[in-house]
């Protein structure tokens, strides 16, 4: 157990190192320059050169990279070109909004997908199954921002009383947080539900065809109990993997949905950083997202052992 955690942490460091290198290279391959962007239309070459020098952008890329790495090791991810705030501080400011949106969205997704997926598997090849499959296919194909726009038109403005944008933190006012999180969480939750429904259906269907199910049925155990005690438990392992990956990607910030709903999380931050070519912030968000991804996957692996005693973590 300890050993696997240690190995994963070592992996984390290597992956993050790779991420910094890739992000750094990509950022500099994309045309556009943070100082130029900050100056906007009113451009003056002398000012431009002075500002670039002040930001250290006139140094060779290799020097810039290693200086960044050196600071990053000590937890200093630099300061934002735009606001001058330390990047680590910005990331921690944005994390709560993304956490609460991702977790709420995931809960909505699981609550919808679990009954729907199981039902579709149990009643497979009936109209219930076809219905569930059509709906989930639709949910996978329609982008989340479009679902979000529809939700906004249906439930805000003169049509309803939910706010179409903004955020109130959970600790400040839980009720208001709930009103604000509902629509964006539905937008991401419905998409997650569609993906999960398909996986749950397949996983449960797989298990239903196994010999032990037939044996259990032959022994006269009621189908409901077979399903709950045996099938669902076994089907849970692959489903858990998908839930983990889904959650990790939601935690990385749902860029388009956060931008649409003016939700101040990591996704909106990433979007702004790209627009403004705010290199330190962009590198910071990508690093954090990569770290979240790896950590969530590690947690999922550890959970396997809990769900399925046959899997031992050594």
């Amino acid at each position: 157990m300890l050993w696997i955690v240690g190995r994963r942490v070592a992996q984390l460091v290597i992956v993050l190192l790779g991420v910094t290198l890739v992000v750094f290279t990509l950022i500099h391959l994309v045309p556009g320059d943070p100082v130029r962007t900050a100056l906007g239309i009113r451009f003056n070459p002398a000012i431009y050169a002075a500002l670039r020098q002040r930001a250290g952008l006139d140094k060779p890329l290799v020097v810039q990279y290693f200086s960044y790495l050196g600071h990053a090791v000590t937890g200093d991810l630099g300061v934002s070109f735009q606001t001058g705030q330390p990047v680590t501080q910005i990331l921690f400011q944005r994390l709560p909004a993304t956490l609460s949106l991702a977790i709420t969205g995931m809960i909505i997704g699981v609550v919808i997908a679990l009954p729907l997926g199981v039902l579709a598997a149990v009643r497979h090849d009936t109209w219930v199954d076809s219905g569930a499959r059509v709906i989930s296919q639709l949910g996978v194909s329609v982008p989340d921002f479009f679902i979000g726009t529809l939700l906004i038109l249906a439930f805000t403005g003169t049509a309803g009383s939910l706010p179409p944008s903004g955020y109130v933190s959970l600790t400040a006012n839980p009720l208001e947080w709930g009103r604000h999180v509902l629509l964006p969480a539905l937008a991401v939750g419905l998409v997650a539900a569609s993906i999960l429904t398909r996986f749950i259906r397949t996983a449960v269907l797989d298990e239903l065809g196994r010999d032990y199910v037939r044996t259990a049925a032959a022994k006269g155990i009621p189908a409901r109990i077979v399903l709950r005690r045996h099938v669902m438990r076994n089907a849970f392992v692959p489903v858990l993997t998908v839930v983990g990956i889904q959650l990790a990607s939601l935690l990385g910030g749902v860029i388009v949905v956060e931008v649409l709903f003016a939700w101040p999380g990591l996704g909106l931050l990433t979007y702004q950083a790209v627009e403004q070519r705010d290199y330190p912030v962009l590198q910071g968000t990508v690093l954090l997202i990569a770290a979240i991804f790896i950590v969530v996957n590690l947690l999922v692996d550890l959970l396997y052992a809990v769900v399925d005693p046959r899997i031992s973590l050594r």
Binding site: T37, A38, I41, T83, A262
Partner: protein, 514 residues
């Protein structure tokens, strides 16, 4: 308690804002434009505003972001300021005199204080202007003719000029980018996030990604504002901003879906959509450092093939006025000149005379300004009959700007916003080697006219110089001018005393909520 600290500053500021009755977006969800929501804690005096993006920073002398200025217009002051009809009026200076040779201007300052209580003095003015000039900040070009700025006692400032500069008041007052800032606030490094101004409102919190909250400055020299709190939220999607307004979550926005403006003007209930001619202009230009665009006949041919009226309809849904010169009809500097009536046969013969056929032209536009993308599509179809194939490059603004700066373009479409003096419209864009002359236009007569106009004081003489320059610029098709857009803002029927200004300055100090 510990939990809240871990959750971070963001949560804390929201909590504080909610405590101080600033959370007008919250509570109730009644659709009657905020007036009744939020209970008895005086939220009738909280104005919620949706702007299209988050300010990059709040140092007025350093930012060039319009979203920043939408906030800062209410926080800072300039020495003089344009009123709603764009005439210069006293602000931090109450009066001024000019020496007989026009080279020395003496400003008498207002007796007022900074929002932190420190008295406002001439040293602040000297510091502010020296900072812009010495650090070469984005508005340094406005001080090109200034030799020195000195204090004469605590309440007088003397500006010495290199040569007579009739548009000095415009240079130091026409734009909040030359606001007077507090030395202490700058040197403590606070100004970018927690600015201290002399204006009607002070910044109390900035919740990054979400909102900026301002509180009324009770000691404001123009009288304490009636609206006690203003909350700016950042809503990039215009449909969402409109829903915010319709649902009463906000009482003001300038981020509206352009295609809906005209129908909203007729049918909106609970709010008004106002449009006012702006001082902006949008144009297309061709890279004169490249062949064949260095040939004036090619540029003219393109100008003859373009129909600005069609572009106005497509790109702005009719919310603009087509114009073949830069300065709008509403200005006293307007020059009525439109030689390029769409004429395809003339365009074809000009192109043939230049020996150009089957030309492929890149046109650079940016999704930062979606109207440029639409305008490019119209222009592409208008140029097709000429045998010109337009390849539209839609770039993000950062890339766009870097290509513009490198001269890496055949043609592009963009605009100049918030112009007041005619020199704003023409000088830096058209003079040889000018800092915004990316199209590399080079005409000695225009140079001479523009330079002469910089130092001419009499209105009629000055206007005649600009008219002559404009005629050559249009004839030479250095810029192919397209239109002057309207300023479009929508606000709740509960907001009174607010004026939509042609220069896009958003000021709430005289407004009140019912």
């Amino acid at each position: 308690m510990r939990m809240r600290w871990i959750v971070g500053l963001g949560a804390l500021t929201v909590a504080l804002a909610a405590c101080s009755g600033g959370g007008s977006v919250n509570v109730g969800g009644t659709s009657s434009a905020g007036g009744t929501s939020g209970g008895a804690s005086g939220s009738g005096s909280t104005l919620s505003v949706a702007i299209s993006g988050e300010p990059d920073q709040l140092d007025p002398q350093k930012t060039s972001d319009y979203n920043s200025f939408e906030v800062l217009e209410n926080v800072f002051d300039t020495l003089v300021e344009p009123n709603a009809s764009l005439q210069m009026e006293p602000a931090l200076a109450t009066s001024w005199t000019t020496s007989p040779n026009q080279l020395t201007w003496t400003f008498t300052l207002r007796n007022t204080t900074w929002q932190d209580g420190t008295p406002f003095t001439s040293a602040d003015v000297v510091y502010s202007y020296d900072r812009i000039i010495d650090q070469k900040l984005p508005n340094a070009y406005r001080f090109a003719e200034v030799k020195s700025v000195t204090a004469d006692g605590a309440h007088k400032v003397v500006i010495n000029l290199k040569q007579p500069t009739p548009d000095l008041l415009n240079a130091i007052g026409g734009f909040m980018g030359v606001a007077i800032v507090e030395k202490k606030n700058v040197e403590s490094g606070q100004i970018g996030q927690h600015p201290v101004g002399t204006g009607p409102y002070q910044v109390v919190s900035w919740d990054h990604g979400l909102s900026i909250t301002l509180a009324a400055n009770p000691h404001y020299w123009g009288g304490a504002p009636k609206i006690k709190t203003i909350k700016y939220t950042f809503v990039s999607n215009p449909t969402v901003a409109l829903q915010d307004l319709e649902g009463g979550e906000v009482q003001w926005t300038d981020n509206l879906p352009p295609q809906q403006v005209q129908s909203l003007q007729k049918s909106a209930s609970g709010f008004t959509v106002k449009s006012v001619p702006s001082t902006d202009y949008w144009y297309m230009t061709l890279n004169e450092a490249r062949k064949p665009y260095n040939d004036v006949r090619v540029r003219q041919a393109i100008a003859y093939a373009i129909n600005p009226g069609a572009i106005v309809q497509a790109a702005t849904f009719g919310n603009a006025v087509a114009n073949e010169t830069a300065i709008p009809k509403t200005s006293q500097w307007y020059y009525d000149y439109s030689p390029y009536t769409p004429d395809l046969s003339k365009a074809k013969s000009l192109l043939a005379a230049a020996g150009v056929k089957n030309l492929t032209m890149n046109m650079m536009v940016t999704n930062e300004y979606p109207q440029t993308v639409t305008a490019a599509q119209v222009i592409a179809s208008e140029l097709q009959p000429l045998g010109i194939t337009v390849k539209i490059q839609t770039l993000d603004f950062a890339t766009w700007l870097s290509q513009e700066e490198n001269g890496d373009f055949d043609s592009f479409i963009l605009g100049w916003l918030g112009n007041l003096d005619p020199s704003d419209y023409y000088y830096a864009q058209q003079i040889t080697g000018g800092s915004f002359n990316f199209q590399k236009f080079n005409n000695p007569t225009v140079d001479q006219l523009l330079n002469q106009a910089q130092t001419t004081t009499a209105f009629a003489a000055r206007k005649s110089l600009y008219d002559q320059a404009a005629k050559i610029i249009v004839d030479q098709a250095s810029y192919i001018y397209l239109y002057n857009p309207d300023v479009i803002q929508a606000y709740s029927s509960d907001l009174h005393g607010y004026t939509v200004r042609p220069d896009r300055a958003v000021r709430f100090n005289d407004a009140w909520l019912s």
